[in-house]
């Protein structure tokens, strides 16, 4: 089958073989130099005991919750505001603006955002000082640096959920809103009783996609804070990276990777289960 060969052979080699490799490796201790050594579940029990790994998973989960709620909230708000009557050039312009950060590299964005959040010379603290507010140690305080990672991540990614919501809202038949107008339903009521139920399948898909990508956050904390101060912005993927390529604990890294994958699959399954109660399919 010449048609399938490149894709299927490529996937066998670069995806399926590595998955099996990861599953096997997770039960070994291997530093690439000496021979691998079978250690059973020791890599997994070490995960539960290692404070850095534990903290990084807690950080990741908190990050996912905050970032996804913000991302979906902002995207929903902006998409529904664009439904109102306005000149079409303005709508097209705003749509382009909100979607623009998606085409930038997370590494580049993290580079300039790191400068903007600089405590002494950064533009963010300068703006705060104009408003008479004190300077915030954005990248050197545990809470503020976690907030910066969330903000920068959401800044770059809300456009994706926004595009999904915009598409879904545009396909709602106009008559439904007109009918709601006639019934005297105004802004918020229309949104919660007409728009939201009709786009609920998209909200589900958008939240699953947002959670899956947020669980894998790496570039922003790596470039802006390198996990610090302390471990306050260390994420699960950063720990995979560090244990494999800095500490040469390849087995341990595989074990963390598997736990993360299970988490991703569980989140996806849970959301589809919950959705049976909240999502309305037409």
């Amino acid at each position: 089958m010449i048609f399938l060969a490149p894709t299927v052979l490529g996937m066998a080699l670069f995806t399926f073989l590595p998955i099996i490799g990861s599953l096997v490796l997770a039960f070994f201790r291997w530093d690439i130099i000496s021979a691998p050594q079978f250690i059973g579940f020791a890599n997994f029990t070490a995960l539960a005991e290692d404070p850095t790994v534990r903290v990084s998973f807690v950080n990741t989960i908190v990050f996912v919750i905050v970032a996804v709620v913000l991302q979906l909230g902002i995207a929903l708000g902006l998409a529904s505001m664009l439904q109102a009557r306005m000149p079409s050039w303005l709508r097209v312009f705003l749509r382009s603006v909100f979607f623009f950060p998606l085409v930038l590299s997370a590494a580049s964005v993290s580079i300039f955002m790191r400068y903007m959040f600089n405590e002494q010379f950064g533009v963010v603290n300068w703006l705060l000082s104009l408003a008479g507010l004190p300077a915030v140690p954005w990248l050197t305080s545990p809470v503020a640096s976690a907030a910066v990672v969330v903000l920068v991540y959401v800044w770059q990614n809300f456009g994706f959920s926004f595009l999904l919501f915009l598409g879904a809202m545009t396909s709602i038949p106009k008559e439904l809103h007109e009918a709601a107008d006639l019934d005297g339903a105004t802004g918020w009521k229309q949104f919660s009783n007409v728009t939201l139920p009709l786009i609920s399948p998209t909200v589900l898909v958008a939240s699953v996609m947002a959670m899956i990508s947020a669980l894998q956050v790496f570039d922003q904390p790596y470039v802006m804070t390198n996990g610090g101060p302390g471990d306050s912005t260390r994420t699960a993927v950063m720990v995979i990276f560090e244990s494999a390529f800095q500490q040469l604990e390849f087995g341990q890294a595989s074990a963390i990777g598997l736990v993360l994958t299970v988490l991703i699959l569980a989140v996806t399954a849970l959301q589809f289960r919950l959705s049976r109660r909240f999502v309305f399919y037409q």
Partner: protein, 303 residues
């Protein structure tokens, strides 16, 4: 909500009572949702400013002299542009090599994905063979596996193949694409069957039918796959960080992060000049292919 003027009896529509003159009526009705409209425009303007502000600041700061780059007040508009930082970034890092590497890696991945996804998508949409559905499900299942899980074995595999610290190490594993295959399959399923039958009557074999009839028609679908691949891999950071070692094999994002680490805050305009340069191709794609990019990005959500 808008200019509905039904006499509902509430005092929300005072202008809708029939006795008022029409001009007055219109003005009153317009002013009625004013608070909401103003609030909405204010929120949209704020959101647009917060989205564009950082990018404008980056552009303006890259056009300051390196020694003034961190001076306050910051600049948001590029008045009196100074290009020292741009000359300096070429001196500090080998921008030419980074651009060449990024272009080669991204271009070859995009071409490879377009070719392999078109072939596989066509097979899944149009050809009959044993185990088709099972294989297609397996292909789709790979979308659920995060790259971080496979990166350690991929790293070893690349090492075993003698490709460590080469551009091929970045290119080869990225060519098989589940999402691209899915997109192309959808695309081919949407094309009419009649052409294949006509071509078969003319004596064309399966390869001829694909090559001369269907592949040319699938160009728009291939464009989506190519643009998505470009957007993703041009900006990619995690894999290059792991799979390349020497600076001569770095891609742009990796080179810039390294540059940032090696320079003090005194010359941030140099780093930002590099950032702006690295954005240019993405900007071109954004301007020329925004529609394709939008369709591609949201295509995965509609299945």
């Amino acid at each position: 909500m808008s200019s509905q003027s039904l006499p509902t009896g509430t005092d929300e529509h005072p202008g809708s009572t029939t006795g008022t003159p029409p001009t007055h009526n219109r003005r009153r009705n317009r002013r009625l949702p004013a608070a909401g409209t103003v609030g909405r425009y204010a929120a949209l303007a704020l959101a647009a400013a917060l989205t564009l502000g950082p990018v404008l600041w980056t552009l303006s700061t890259s056009l300051r002299t390196p020694s003034e780059s961190f001076n306050l007040p910051p600049s948001f508009l590029p008045v009196n542009p100074d290009f020292t930082a741009y000359q300096e970034v070429f001196r500090q890092i080998n921008v030419g090599v980074l651009v060449l590497n990024s272009t080669l890696v991204t271009g070859l991945i995009a071409l490879g994905q377009m070719a392999s996804a078109t072939l596989a998508g066509y097979a899944f949409a149009r050809l009959d063979f044993r185990g088709k559905n099972a294989i297609f499900s397996l292909v789709l299942a790979t979308m659920m596996v995060p790259v971080q899980v496979t990166i350690v074995p991929v790293f070893m595999l690349i090492r075993g193949m003698g490709l460590s610290d080469t551009l091929l190490a970045l290119i080869l594993p990225a060519i098989p694409t589940a999402f691209g295959t899915f997109l192309m399959r959808q695309y081919f399923m949407g094309l009419p069957h009649d052409f294949a039958e006509a071509a078969a009557l003319d004596g064309a074999g399966p390869w001829r039918i694909f090559r001369s009839v269907y592949a040319p028609m699938a160009a728009p679908g291939m464009a989506i796959v190519g643009i998505l691949a470009f957007n993703f891999h041009w900006n990619e950071f995690f894999r290059p960080l792991i799979l390349t070692i020497s600076e001569q094999n770095f891609t742009l994002p990796l080179g810039l992060v390294t540059l940032q680490g090696s320079l003090g805050t005194g010359s941030i305009s140099v780093v930002l000049a590099g950032v702006i340069l690295s954005m240019l191709p993405a900007l071109v794609v954004f301007i020329l292919g925004q529609r394709t990019l939008r369709e591609g990005l949201t295509a995965g959500a509609g299945k």
